[in-house]
């Protein structure tokens, strides 16, 4: 059983977080909330998302898995304004999700989850941690996009840097001390990442929220932030571009 009511913008956040990586996702439903894990087909990035029942206006569920076609979900969301409330109910016998938005009822067939595996989350030990305001990060990415298709994330002692080096131009974001919410970087780390991925991930977080970056050298980055007013949480893992053997 799954019956819930939530604001369209919360659903949209989830969709934005996942749809850039995969076309279909398996949502794990429990009495306490939703969660999902998905790896993009190229195995470069992974999302691990959870949304507690407090993120919903109403929520009632038992344990079940739902396979969702994200393109279809996108179409449904286009029918609602961001503050609109959407009713969602799982019809087990018909294997459908029924959405009610205002006077519209929209039934959506679910995808068979039999062939959808549960991705294993790689076990990473990342020495450095930086907590930064999302708007700062988004500003740095904006500057970088005009310059290169990848960025280096560097953490060293008290400073965090985001560096984009093109053939001719450079962009550089440097934050240190109180410009950061928190930094713990006992040893210098540097990894390079695809901007295509990094930029879409960083767009999901609200500008006024904090983002936690866990970093190593030539290691994946773990990007964490809250969604839905602290009632949900997203973890991204992004594999690096290796600079040298």
């Amino acid at each position: 059983m799954f019956k819930a009511k939530l604001k369209a913008e919360v659903l949209k956040t989830i969709l934005d977080a996942v749809a850039t990586l995969v076309d279909e996702a398996k949502i794990h439903v429990t009495p306490e909330g939703l969660s999902l894990k998905a790896v993009d087909p190229a195995h470069v990035a992974m999302v691990d998302l959870s949304l507690g029942k407090k993120a919903f206006a109403e929520y009632k569920a038992t344990d079940l898995d739902m396979g969702v076609d994200l393109d279809k979900l996108k179409d449904i969301l286009k029918l609602a304004g961001s503050q609109d409330l959407i009713d969602i109910e799982y019809k087990e016998d018909a294997h459908k999700l029924v959405f009610k938005l205002g006077h519209i009822t929209r039934r959506m067939s679910l995808v068979d989850t039999a062939n959808m595996g549960d991705p294993k989350v790689p076990n990473l030990s990342l020495p450095n941690q930086v907590v930064v305001l999302a708007s700062e990060l988004q500003q740095g990415i904006k500057a970088s996009e005009a310059v290169s298709d990848h960025i280096a994330l560097v953490a060293d002692g008290k400073a965090f840097e985001l560096v984009a080096e093109g053939d001719t131009d450079q962009a550089h974001l440097r934050l240190e001390g109180s410009e950061l919410i928190k930094i713990q970087a006992p040893q210098k780390s540097r990894s390079l990442f695809s901007l295509d991925y990094f930029s879409t991930m960083s767009k999901v977080v609200k500008a006024t929220d904090a983002v936690t970056l866990n970093l190593g050298t030539d290691f994946p980055v773990k990007i964490e932030f809250d969604i839905a007013d602290g009632n949900g949480h997203i973890i991204y893992l992004l594999a690096p571009r290796i600079e040298s053997e």
Binding site: P122, H150, S194, L238, A239, P240, R241, E243
Partner: protein, 604 residues
């Protein structure tokens, strides 16, 4: 078995031109594959996910492959600049596989996978490629590109080379089907690979018996994977039990040719069954409760293109199971045969098929019966098979008829039949030995064709394979001016040059030569091509063209039958002229070097 290990075999196969050498490598490879891995191994060797006739192609577009390479090196797939650079790398290397190998092997700038390098198994590689080939619909190219990216991110450079080639639909290891069957036999017997001439009598007998069993099973099923799996799991006994299956194409029997009707009569020991040789499309029709399937002579499925023929067969043979062969012909309102082009216009059509069905209705002239409800009939003599066919057809049907046939025993009657055939619009006659069985997949003198152009002064037409091209000059600048043509040496599995073809093309054809050959361009002379002449562009042997030549002569340049008739000389076709495309033939179904030699010897 790991894909890495398979890739190492691929690399060795690629570097080995000789059939015996290839066989040895294949035997070693078979020794490392578990029975359950036979299907993926065979398919991957063939660069396919299913037998040809299933029509499932891998072929990911070049643009998407370049995007996957961009991703593998950690660049944006949206950057035109990156894609342009990768395209330049591809052209420099001459091959997408080598470009992928360079990208994955680069010491700087490489996208990592979240999961690190994988120990990709042959089964997993096959499953991924199969999933990729079967992905269709909107956004499928994008999805395929990401699947390839994943494989590349987790691959070694050599794996990347072969994964990319396979996914581009351009693996082309040049392992002939017959070479693979040789290897299967040698692997099973386990005494290594030697030429049969070097074997003791008993060994040779064992090798040849097993080889024949394997080939027969292959001729029935047209799928090496089924044969290899049967051998690996149940030995020769299981292979021998592989009979024909309704819905699975049988490899067609092919004909020889002779210059005169007199020679044909002698060859057939005085008794000949003659049929019209219709200038149509040879069709193998399977009817069973599971439905009707049609296959071309190169075993492509034609079912979708001929819904009218399918409906006619389904209605006429309702409730029965049979495999028959016939020639699909378009007849005009007066019942005269329309040219081959009219039928071939029906092929490959996806849109306005309904209009084509009305405009060009097809009549099927049946000439053989390979299986009826009681089972295979191929071992029966031809006369008996024809009788069964007539029985099956019963009163007949407007658009399903028997081909015209007559059994005679003198040349005068043959001539009369030939004249009548030509008069009614046939391109000649087929002479068949009434006592001979249907030898699937083989060419022999049990069937001999005799065509109108044989009676002219010119040498017969040959179906040759394009292996290279020369840029045109003057009026033909910017086009290909001539094509290097080769005959197929079916013993060595090599195409040997026979002539440079520059006449017979009208401007419209000349214009289309370059785009037509584009997908077959090779970076250097393919190992399976034997030619002293250096064209401007090399092709993988693939496209078959019908060529008419004035005569065959000894040549110090061309390599067909080199040293066979005279030391230091091969055969060349003089004054060759393009007559038509033979898209219905594969490169291995082209005129063989043996046939060319026979034409040379019988030219009188």
């Amino acid at each position: 078995m790991l894909y890495r290990e398979l890739a190492a075999f691929f690399e060795r196969l690629e570097a080995t031109p000789g059939r015996l050498g290839m066989t040895s490598i294949l035997v070693e490879l078979l020794g490392q594959a578990k029975p359950a891995e036979m299907t993926p191994v065979v398919r991957l060797l063939q660069g396919a996910v299913a037998p040809d006739w299933e029509g499932i192609e891998v072929g990911l577009a070049e643009k998407q492959i370049l995007k996957a390479l961009a991703m593998a090196q950690g660049s944006s797939t949206k950057s035109e600049e990156t894609l342009t650079k990768l395209e330049a790398l591809y052209h420099e290397k001459g091959d997408l596989g080598l470009a992928a190998e360079a990208v994955v092997g680069a010491s700087k700038g490489k996208q990592a996978s979240l999961f690190g390098a994988s120990d990709l198994t042959v089964a997993a590689a096959f499953a991924s490629i199969e999933a990729l080939a079967r992905t269709t619909g909107t956004g499928s190219q994008e999805a395929k590109q990401r699947l390839l990216s994943k494989l590349l991110l987790e691959a070694s450079p050599l794996e990347a080379r072969y994964l990319t080639r396979t996914i581009a639909g351009r693996l082309r290891l040049g392992v002939a089907d017959m070479t693979f069957l040789d290897a299967l036999a040698a692997w099973r017997i386990g005494r290594g690979v030697r030429s049969v001439t070097d074997m003791e009598d008993a060994e040779r007998a064992e090798q040849e018996a097993l080889r024949a069993t394997l080939e027969k099973a292959y001729d029935f099923r047209s799928d090496l994977a089924i044969v290899a799996t049967a051998l690996a799991t149940g030995g020769p006994d299981l292979v021998a039990k592989l009979g024909v299956a309704y819905g699975t194409p049988v490899r067609p029997m092919a004909s020889e040719r002779l210059k005169t009707l007199g020679e044909i009569l002698t060859k057939m020991e005085g008794r000949v069954a003659m049929e019209y040789k219709y200038d149509g499309l040879r069709v193998q029709a399977h009817v069973s409760p599971a439905g009707v399937r049609l296959f071309s002579r190169r075993l492509e499925e034609l079912t979708a293109q001929f819904p009218d023929v399918v409906a006619d067969l389904a209605a006429h043979f309702r409730g029965r199971s049979l495999i028959v062969e016939g020639e699909a012909i378009a007849l005009d309102a007066n019942g005269r045969m329309r040219p081959f082009q009219d039928v071939s216009r029906r092929r490959g059509r996806k849109t306005d098929l309904d209009a084509a069905v009305k405009e060009i209705p097809i009549t099927l002239f049946l000439f053989d019966c390979l299986a009826d409800g009681s089972g295979p009939t191929m071992d029966l003599p031809f006369a008996e098979r024809r009788a069964r066919l007539a029985g099956l057809l019963g009163k007949g049907h407007d658009r399903i008829r028997l081909s015209a046939i007559e059994e005679v025993s003198d040349v005068a009657a043959m001539e009369a039949f030939f004249d009548k055939a030509v008069e009614e619009g046939a391109e000649g006659i087929m002479c068949k030995d009434p006592r001979a069985p249907y030898k699937a997949g083989s060419r022999g003198f049990a069937w001999i064709k005799f065509k109108t152009d044989y009676t002219e002064a010119l040498v017969d037409t040959m179906d040759l394979v394009a292996v290279g091209a020369f840029y045109g000059r003057g009026r033909r600048a910017g086009w290909y001016g001539a094509v290097l043509m080769a005959a197929y040496d079916d013993e060595a599995g090599v195409w040997r040059s026979l002539c440079k073809l520059g006449t017979g093309f009208d401007d419209a054809t000349l214009e289309t030569l370059k785009p037509r050959f584009e997908p077959h361009v090779a970076p250097k002379r393919p190992a399976k091509v034997d030619s002293e002449m250096e064209p401007d562009v090399w092709f993988e042997p693939s496209v078959v063209m019908e060529v008419q030549a004035a005569e065959l002569t000894l040549s110090p340049i061309h390599r067909a039958a080199w040293g066979l008739l005279k030391p230091g000389a091969g055969l060349a076709a003089r004054f060759p002229r393009f007559t038509r495309w033979r898209d219905d033939k594969t490169a291995t179904q082209a005129t063989s070097v043996k046939e060319v030699v026979r034409l040379y010897e019988t030219k009188g």
